[in-house]
Symmetry: C2
Subunit: 346 residues, 2 copies
C-alpha cells in the first residue's frame, strides 16, 4: 500500500504538496498538481483514513444511533436508515450504525468520547431523552430524527404529525365520515413519552374538534391481536363508527382481519386510513390501504445533509424541519354507506 511519501518521492515534490493537492486547502500550480496526480494514479494511492482522521481530527464518520429494542425496525425506520446511508455516502462520509439502547448511557458516553464520530443522528427520540444531554456534553454535533419536548436549541427533522393527522381526518370528513376512531400505539408507549403517539393524539383531538366531531382514541398493542382488540374496543366506544384512522402499522392488519371476520367490508362498511406508512406495506393489504405515506428515506437524507452542512460549513446553524406525510388514496376509503345528517346521533 503506497503512502504519501511514496507519491511525493515519485512526483519529486514534498509530502505537504501531495497533501495539499488532496485537501485543496492551498493553491497548487497546475504543473505540479498534474505530476502529483500522475504519481498517485501510478501507485494507486489511497489516503489512509486513520492517519487522516488522527491528523485532521475529523474522522469523516457519522453515527446513526438507534435504540435496538424488541421487534426490530419497521419499514419506516428502515427507510430512515437507508436514506441516511445513501446521503452519507454522497456527502463523502461513512455511516456507522450504533445500536444504543436507552439504558446504555455509559456506552453512549464512551462512544462519544472515542472521537470516532464527527457527528451523530439520533433516531427514535423520546420527549425527554437523556441521550441528547450526553451527546451535547460530549460536544458531538447532533441532529435528531424526531423531537424532544424542548427543541429550542437542537437541530431536527421530524414528521409533521399535526398536518398529517389534519389531512387524514379531512380526507375522511370530506368523504362524509363523522364517526372516526383513531387507533394509536399502546398505552405503555404513550406513557413512555413517545412523541409520535402523543403528538398524533393531540392532533387528532384538535382536528376532530375543529370539525365539530367527537374524537375517540383507542390505544393498541403493536400486533395483529392488538389490532383486533382495538377494533372491538372501538365498536364498544363508538358503535356507529364508519372510519378508522390508525397510527399503529402493525395493528392495522389485525383491524382489517377483524373487520372481515365481523362480515364488514372495507371500504363499504368501514373506511380505513393508515398513518405514517410505507407504500410497500400499504400495498400488502387487500384492498390496498389509503395511507399517509411517510417521507421515510427523505428524513434520513435530510438529517444527514443537515449534519454534514453543519460540519463542513461555517456557522452552527440549527436545522429544524417538519415534513408531512402525503395522502395516497388507495382502495380502503370511500363514502360511508349510510350518511347521517350532521349531529344526528345513532
Amino acid at each position: 500500500m503506497a503512502t504519501m511519501h511514496d507519491v511525493a518521492r515519485l512526483a519529486q515534490v514534498s509530502v505537504s504538496t501531495v497533501s495539499y493537492v488532496l485537501t485543496g486547502t492551498r493553491p497548487i500550480s497546475q504543473a505540479t498538481r498534474n505530476k502529483v496526480l500522475a504519481a498517485m494514479a501510478q501507485l494507486e494511492y489511497q489516503p489512509n483514513a486513520m492517519a487522516r482522521g488522527l491528523a485532521s481530527r475529523r474522522s469523516r464518520i457519522l453515527g446513526l444511533l438507534m435504540p435496538m429494542d424488541e421487534r426490530g425496525l419497521g419499514a419506516t425506520e428502515t427507510a430512515f436508515v437507508t436514506g441516511a446511508a445513501a446521503a452519507a455516502s454522497v456527502a463523502g462520509y461513512h455511516l456507522v450504525l450504533s445500536p444504543v439502547g436507552g439504558g446504555d448511557l455509559d456506552d453512549l458516553r464512551r462512544l462519544a468520547s472515542q472521537r470516532m464520530l464527527d457527528g451523530v443522528v439520533l433516531m427514535e427520540v423520546q420527549l425527554a431523552d437523556e441521550r441528547v444531554t450526553v451527546l451535547q456534553e460530549a460536544g458531538v454535533p447532533l441532529v435528531l430524527i424526531g423531537r424532544t419536548g424542548d427543541t429550542s436549541t437542537l437541530s431536527y427533522v421530524d414528521i409533521d404529525f399535526d398536518q398529517t393527522v389534519r389531512e387524514a381526518v379531512a380526507h375522511l370528513v370530506g368523504l362524509g365520515h363523522r364517526r372516526i376512531v383513531y387507533v394509536n400505539h399502546s398505552a405503555a408507549t404513550l406513557a413512555s413519552g413517545y412523541g409520535p403517539a402523543l403528538r398524533t393524539r393531540d392532533a387528532f383531538t384538535a382536528a376532530m374538534t375543529g370539525h365539530g366531531l367527537e374524537p375517540v382514541m383507542i390505544a393498541a398493542e403493536d400486533s395483529a391481536a392488538g389490532g383486533r382488540a382495538a377494533l372491538a374496543a372501538a365498536f364498544a366506544q363508538a358503535p356507529e363508527l364508519t372510519a378508522v384512522l390508525a397510527m399503529n402499522e402493525t395493528a392495522i392488519f389485525g383491524i382489517l382481519g377483524e373487520l372481515t371476520g365481523r362480515g364488514l367490508s372495507v371500504p363499504d362498511d368501514v373506511s380505513v386510513v393508515s398513518m405514517v406508512t410505507s407504500p410497500q406495506v400499504a400495498e400488502l393489504a387487500t384492498p390496498a390501504l389509503t395511507a399517509m405515506t411517510s417521507p421515510g428515506s427523505a428524513l434520513g437524507r435530510i438529517a444527514i445533509e443537515a449534519l454534514t452542512r453543519h460540519l463542513d460549513g461555517p456557522a452552527d446553524l440549527r436545522h429544524q424541519q417538519l415534513l408531512p406525510c402525503t395522502l395516497e388514496i388507495r382502495g380502503s376509503t370511500a363514502q360511508p354507506r349510510s350518511r347521517h345528517p350532521l349531529g344526528a346521533d345513532q
Copy 2:
C-alpha cells in the same frame, strides 16, 4: 479530552505502561495497574479511536456492504442488518453501512484501500459477484451472506434453501396436497443469477419429483399485482392446484387478495405457504401465514461473529454454514378440501 500522556503523568508511570494495561499485551503488576486504572477513571480517559487505529493498523470497524437498489430493504434484509449491528457491538467493533451498488466497483476498491475497514460482510451476493474479487484483491477479510457459485475458498453464511423447500413441500404433501405451485421471484431476477431464486427453483423441482409430483413454477414480479398475475398463471397451468408455495414475500399478499377475489378461501380451498419470511410479515395476513421463518438476524450475527473470529483469532479458518428456515404453522395451510387419488388428473 485527556490523553494517554495525562493518564501516565497522573499515575506516575510511562505511557507504554498505560497502553499495556489497556491492551493487556504484557503483564502488569496489580499495584501499577490499579494506579493506572484510578488515573483513567479520574480523568474520564477514553482512548482515541483514530490514534489507536493508526498505530495498531486495526480500526475495529467492520463494513456491511449492501447494494442499494430500488425498493429498499425487506424485513428479512433488515434483520440481517440489525443482527449484524448488534453482534458487532457485542464484539467491540463498529459497523459501517456502505451502500455499494454492483456498478460501483471503483468505489468499492477505494473503500477497501482506505484501510478503514478491518473486514467486510457482503450482502445480496450474486452467483458471479465481482465485488468478491475486488475485496479479495484488496486483501480485505470477507464473509458473505449468501453464496457465489464457487464457494470453495470463501466464508459464508446462507439460508439452506434446499432444506427449506424440502420441508415446505413435505408439510404440504403431508397434509395431502398433490398439486402445488411454486411462485418464485421474477424472470428477470432469475436471469440475473440471483442465488435464492435459482436454488429454490431447483430445490422445488427436486422435492416435488422426489414425491412423484409434477413441479410447476411461476415467476412473479415483486408486487401485489405480480402476485395476482402469478395466481392467474398458476390456475392456467395447473387448474386443480390446492396449494401455493411462494418465495416472493411481496407477491404473496397479492396472491391472497386474488384468492379472496375469486371466492376461494384460505386454507380451505387453497393452502398457502410463504418461504423465507419474517414472523412480523406472516402475522400481517389474515389468516396468518404458515411460513418458513427466515433466520434473519441470526444470519447477520453469525456473519459478524465469523468475521471477528477470523480477525481476532489466529488462523484464517473458513466458516461455511447453511441455516434452514423453520416451519411455523399458522392459519394458511390445511388439508385440501377434496382429495384426489394419486395420479387421478381431473
